[in-house]
């Protein structure tokens, strides 16, 4: 991990515009948050292929579905909360049901739109999206993944939900060596006492936690699950077998997100103690992002505490 930080949404916007120059079938839609989602970068480069529909998320996503039936590759952009809550019907009834090739970019996911408060936080989007048949669910952890995941989504045939953060995130991955593949988890740190399975911006916290645990003599493996659906069952089972305990970390309600997905797999294939770190089924509030993560249990210290607990549960 380097000290270099870049806003994930900026990388997303630049990548989308780059993709637009490579493939004229790529179009973008936004619901009046283009300056926030950064789809505006695409819009400035390709105004004829950019459709800002105003504050009408459901209409935007349904239009995207129509475009996809003609062979276009639409990227629909809005806040993650509204992608699910306002546009949930066309996401399900048009896109997932018919397996249409639409990319749904939900920005400001988790608590990352921190100051706007619980009305704009998105803590149920993973639960919704992964319960849609045919949907691929991708969560982005760092600026390098923002580029690679956006490219992978564009190349993939079928509906994809891209979960994007508003945060400036440190660069974790090396673009030159990162073999990003949809559905394949990534082991960043090896360890033997437990595995910390993280997604999105929480990967940074997981890495910090592993360092803190090492100082306490606990060897934590760190795995990045960027594709929450389809989840990398093979890797999770291997981690459970080799380390015997799992802590999941996500910026989402503890119900229905990454923790649930991991627990579903391991309960059936390799039952081991699991601790799920996430938002404890509550609405958060306005505030500084890092302080908010602390108050709602999503800092490295929280991960450390749950790691120590899960290791004790092994015995």
């Amino acid at each position: 991990m380097t000290a270099v930080k870049r806003a994930i949404r900026d990388v997303y916007g630049d990548t989308l515009a780059q993709l637009g120059s490579e493939n004229k079938n790529i179009i973008a839609l936004d619901a009046d948050v283009g300056s926030s989602s950064k789809s505006i970068v695409f819009g400035k480069a390709f105004p004829e292929r950019y459709f800002n529909v105003g504050i009408a998320e459901a209409n935007m996503v349904a239009m995207a579905a129509g475009f996809a039936t003609t062979g276009k590759i639409p990227f629909a952009n809005t806040f993650a909360a509204f992608m699910v809550l306002r546009a949930g019907d066309p996401v399900r009834s048009l896109i997932a049901y018919t397996n249409l090739n639409v990319k749904l970019a939900g920005t400001y996911a988790g608590l990352s739109d921190s100051y706007d408060g619980a009305s704009h936080h998105s803590i149920a989007d993973i639960a919704f999206m992964r319960s849609m048949p045919n949907m691929t669910v991708i969560s982005i952890s760092d600026p390098v993944e923002a580029e690679l995941a956006t490219r992978a989504a564009a190349s993939y045939m079928g509906p994809v939900y891209l979960r994007l953060s508003r945060a400036e995130a440190p660069v974790i991955f090396d673009k030159k060596t990162y073999d990003y593949k949809i559905g394949k988890g990534v082991t960043l740190v090896d360890g033997s006492d437990l595995t910390i399975v993280a997604t999105g911006y929480m990967l940074v916290k997981a890495l910090e936690a592993a360092e803190l645990l090492a100082k306490k003599g606990i060897s934590a493996r760190v795995v990045n699950i960027h594709t929450i659906k389809p989840i990398d069952r093979e890797l999770l089972v291997e981690c459970a077998r080799q380390t015997g305990a799992i802590v999941t970390v996500e910026e989402h309600n503890v119900f229905g997100g990454l923790g649930s997905a991991v627990a579903e797999v391991l309960a059936m294939h390799q039952p081991v103690p699991i601790e799920i770190v996430g938002i404890e089924d509550t609405f958060a509030e306005s505030g500084d992002y890092e302080k908010l993560l602390g108050k709602y249990g999503l800092q490295a210290a929280n991960v450390v505490a749950r790691a120590e607990k899960v290791v004790k549960r092994k015995k």
Partner: protein, 277 residues
């Protein structure tokens, strides 16, 4: 050009046949929506047999016209037409709504040849149709996208989002037809949620508006021809219809939105359709 008399007679004959087939089919399976299928018989028949450039032998031709059934519950009428045109075997019709059938209760683009868009949850057909229409403009193709909507469907908020957008994006290759039968599931529109002057509402959003008798195949044909000449704005055709048209005890009755047809009702309906129209 107005319909020639023989074409008019042909379309009317088809509608009469489709109505009989619909009653037989829905009586046979004891499920499905007769009311809104009967009200849209002339609209769908005129589009498919006179206006749409579609061909079962080349169902995915990228230059084909697109027809979207916004009011997806009228699927049985659409299925009868698609089967007659050879998009799938007529023998499949009796499997409607049954296990392992490609003919779902509401249209499924994934399973049924000739269905352009999966519909059912009301209001989604129009915005999706707008996406298709705008794709045609990007691709410089001259096909037309048609969306058939119910009047009750207009109560969905997303409809007005799409009406706004179609106007902004000048989708003059999009034609909406409203099956204005005045009746929804729980009662008349007047009772449940009055829509007032539908044409005035769309006009206020910047659309061309045409009003016709939705059971007059000649009027439907003429209105579509007119709509195609109107440039710079999308066009809506408000087609006044009768829910359950052709079966006296179903006409104008919300109870027949989606109700199984009994044995005596079947006999009465079929005898009326033999002589009527």
């Amino acid at each position: 050009m107005s319909l020639r008399n023989e074409n008019r007679k042909h379309l009317e004959g088809l509608c009469r046949k489709f109505r009989q087939d619909l009653i037989k089919l829905l009586h046979g399976i004891q499920t499905g929506h007769p009311g809104g299928s009967l009200s849209s018989a002339e609209i769908m028949t005129t589009l498919y047999y006179e206006k749409l450039n579609v061909n079962a032998k080349n169902a995915k031709d990228e230059n084909r016209d697109r027809f979207i059934l916004g009011k997806g519950h009228a699927a049985p009428m659409l299925y009868l037409i698609l089967a007659d045109l050879g998009f799938f075997p007529k023998e499949d019709l009796v499997t409607l709504r049954q296990l392992d059938s490609h003919l779902q209760g509401h249209p499924s683009a994934k399973t049924t040849n000739g269905i352009e868009l999966s519909t059912g949850p009301l209001g989604l057909g129009l915005p999706a149709g707008l996406g298709i229409a705008l794709a045609a403009k990007l691709d410089k193709k001259d096909y037309t996208t048609y969306v058939l909507m119910g009047d009750g469907e207009l109560q969905e908020g997303i409809v007005w989002e799409a009406v706004m957008s179609a106007s902004k994006f000048k989708a003059d290759n999009l034609i909406v037809i409203i099956d204005n039968n005045g009746v929804q599931l729980d009662g008349t529109l007047e009772e449940i949620m009055p829509m007032g002057d539908i044409g005035a509402k769309w006009a206020a959003f910047g659309w061309n508006v045409l009003h016709i008798d939705g059971h007059d195949v000649g009027a439907i044909s003429d209105a579509v021809d007119t709509a195609k000449t109107l440039k710079g704005k999308p066009t809506v055709i408000v087609a006044r219809t009768v829910k359950g048209k052709g079966v006296s005890f179903m006409e104008g009755k919300s109870a027949w939105h989606g109700k199984p047809i009994g044995k005596d009702e079947y006999v009465t309906a079929m005898s009326e359709l033999e002589v009527a129209l």
